[in-house]
Amino acid sequence: MPLFAQITNLLAALFLLVAFAMLAQRRIVHLINLYALQGGILALSIVAVGYGTHQESLYLSAALNGLLKVIVIPLILYRLVRRLGLAWNRENLLRVPTLLLVGLVLNIFAFDVALPIAHLAGTINRDTFGIALASVLLSLLMMIVRTTALTQVLGFLSLENGLIFAATSVTYGMPMMVELGIALDVIVGVFILGVFFFHIREEFDSLDLHRFDRHEE
């Protein structure tokens, strides 16, 4: 197995590990750190695939992902957390071991589902598709079990990481236009959510979702 393929697999494994870590992490600041780490791993693995297949456009994609997900969005989120005074908040998260077990089952399921799809793909890193799918499902699970708005947004962002990762593994990334479009959507989304958090807190005195479940209609 060529070296870059081994590196790709290693990075994919790290990616999944971070996804698990995010599922179990209680402190918001650490969660943002993990998100930045995941973004970094994503960028690196795109670079590795680009090196292995000699596709220069992937370098641009990697740079864009790195800039956005390692620097810009985490910075915005840090500032947001500081201004909302949530920096060292510890979220109530029940039954972490159960959660991790559910995650494990999802993981096996994802690999099972991904196998036939990966066979269709002609890419060198097609084996990592199962990992990408697993991390998408883990992010969704995280969104379901989290109880504050900010952590749900982090779950959403991590889900988007998983999607980009899946795209890289099956088709060497999406068309450039699509990827730029997604990047723009994410950045705009984060800005808007930032504004909304302030409004939500003014309205409900909290970002705890339980408080405004009742007001939803």
């Binding site: 499902l137 969704l140 749900q152 009742r214 209609e217």
Partner: protein
Amino acid sequence: MITQVGHDPLDIALAVCAMWLVLAAASLALSHRPRALRALFVGGAAGSFLFAAAGLLALFAPATHTTLPLGLPQLAFHLRLDALAAVFAILFGFTALAISLYTAGYLRHEQTARIARMAGQYHLLLAAIGLVLLADDAYVFLIAWETMAWSSYLLIISDDHMVLARRAGLLYLITEHMGAIALMLAFGILQAGTHAGLAGYAFGVMRETTLPPALASVVFALGLFGFGAKAGFLPLHAWLPEAHPVAPSPVSALLSGVLLKLGIYGILLFTLELLHAPLWWWGVLMLVLGLVTALFGAIYSAAQNDMKRLLSYSSIENIGLILAGIGLTVLFQAYHMAALATLALMATLYQTLNHAVFKSLLFLGTGSVLHATGERNLGKLGGLIHRMPWVAALLLIGSFAAAGVPPFNGFVSEWLLLQSFLGATSFPQPYLNMAVPLGAAAVVLVAGLAAYVMVKFYGITFLGQPREAALKNAHDAGFGERIALLLLAGGCLFLGLFPAWTVDLFRPAAAQLIDPGAARDTLEGHVLFCRLHAATHADYGPLIVLGALALVSAALVLILRRLAPAPLRRVAPWNGGHDTRTARMQDTAEGFGQPIRQVFAPFFRMQIQRPAPAETAPVYASRVEDPLWYALYLPITRSVCRMSEWVALLRRRRIAIYLLYAFVTLIILLVLAP
């Protein structure tokens, strides 16, 4: 006959639509100047006149096409003004001319904000109607159709402080939406049948394609439902009697005079133009539906006590006759009997044009009565002929027309319709030969009931003595309103007295839809005569009838003058020569309608409250309700409510639960994917 003046009629019509849009926009800018706002309506009237003129020019020129650089990337707006659209353009332009003039005067005493709102919505509606007639692809047609639906909805609820108006508006909007969905599906199937991609949405491509009979029948059924929601025949009629009374009178006139007719236009467009190879049972279905609708409308309008409800049921009746005419046309066309099909089509179009003119006249007239008295209930009107001579005289013409009395226009179209029913004796199917002429009997019954209804409408409102003291202060209609009523009454007279010229208007449409040769030979005539066909000897000469009527009445007057010995002096019996008749001794609207309610009792859902013999303040009240409302509409509403309750069970009002739904769906799809 009419020379080309150097302008393409389609360009004129388009320019008028653009002008209406500009007027709608201008109403926003002028929202604080009531006089300028009312002047907008005069501008709109000028536009309507031009639109009718464009229709008239287009009748005698070949159909013109154009495309506008708007719309979807591969589907520019296709527009076309052909002979069928031109007939409806004349109908719409003439009616809208009168209604616009009327509205300019009618809104004199309204609040400025309301005039501004109505001016915007009204001109938007005119532009949308114009565009529906000009549309030559499904996309622009549906855009215009939907714009028409919601702008008319806004006009209906423009008295929105009335709860009733909002409820009626909602019923209208829902009905229209269901119809629009059916139309979208129908156009989708038509487009799929052309195998031409996006270009298949153009009507031009659809005209070239012939669908297999099963698919064509599906399209026909969807189209009948969709356009039926607009035209208001039987199961889809419920919005009409609710929306008309609450809408301002000019809006009722536009709804009844023009919007219903666009449903008719759509059905003609679908059955004879886009599907162009009709099956015989389509005709039978429309014939039966039309006759049932006509009877239903006639019976129910006789039982109404509210002026505008009565007129709206009478609209249902007329739409039923028109639909029966279309059914007959399609039936003849399916058996390739071109001459009879042409006759039936001309009767249909004649009836359509007549109804637009006289029903607008009647609705505008009720508007003037409503303005003068503030009363819609027939039981509180009466004797208005002394206070409102203009309105009374002009509405008499409209009532005669609606009653189908010669020499007015309603008679001509009923005569033509009867002739085409009676001509139907040579179908290859013996059952049809026996059954179709029976339809003529139904038409005669409907015509008789219509006359009865008009006697009730006119007699109770204008004749006799005022039933309320307040009616003494009623005033006649203003200048603008009078002009509008005069125009429409003149239209009734023209259409009634010159049928041979009127039929010439329909000849190009019949040539386009059925057969040029048959269109040339059917219904020939000159000013005095109108002859059905060279082979038959059925003639109608309205001027001769008019002359004969005038002679007979003059002779009668002279003879009676001669025979009457002395001026009569009426003295009440047992009264010592004093006159104690009061307004309460006259026949009431309820009383006048009682025989019909009695004869047709099984058709009504009636609640009657009779006073006990010993009661000192006896109250008699009867309420007539629509059985279809209980049999069809309410069960549908209930089942929709029940279904939404089931759906509500899924809603747990927690974001996490919704995310879980998405998650589970994703997992299930992934499991199912291989």
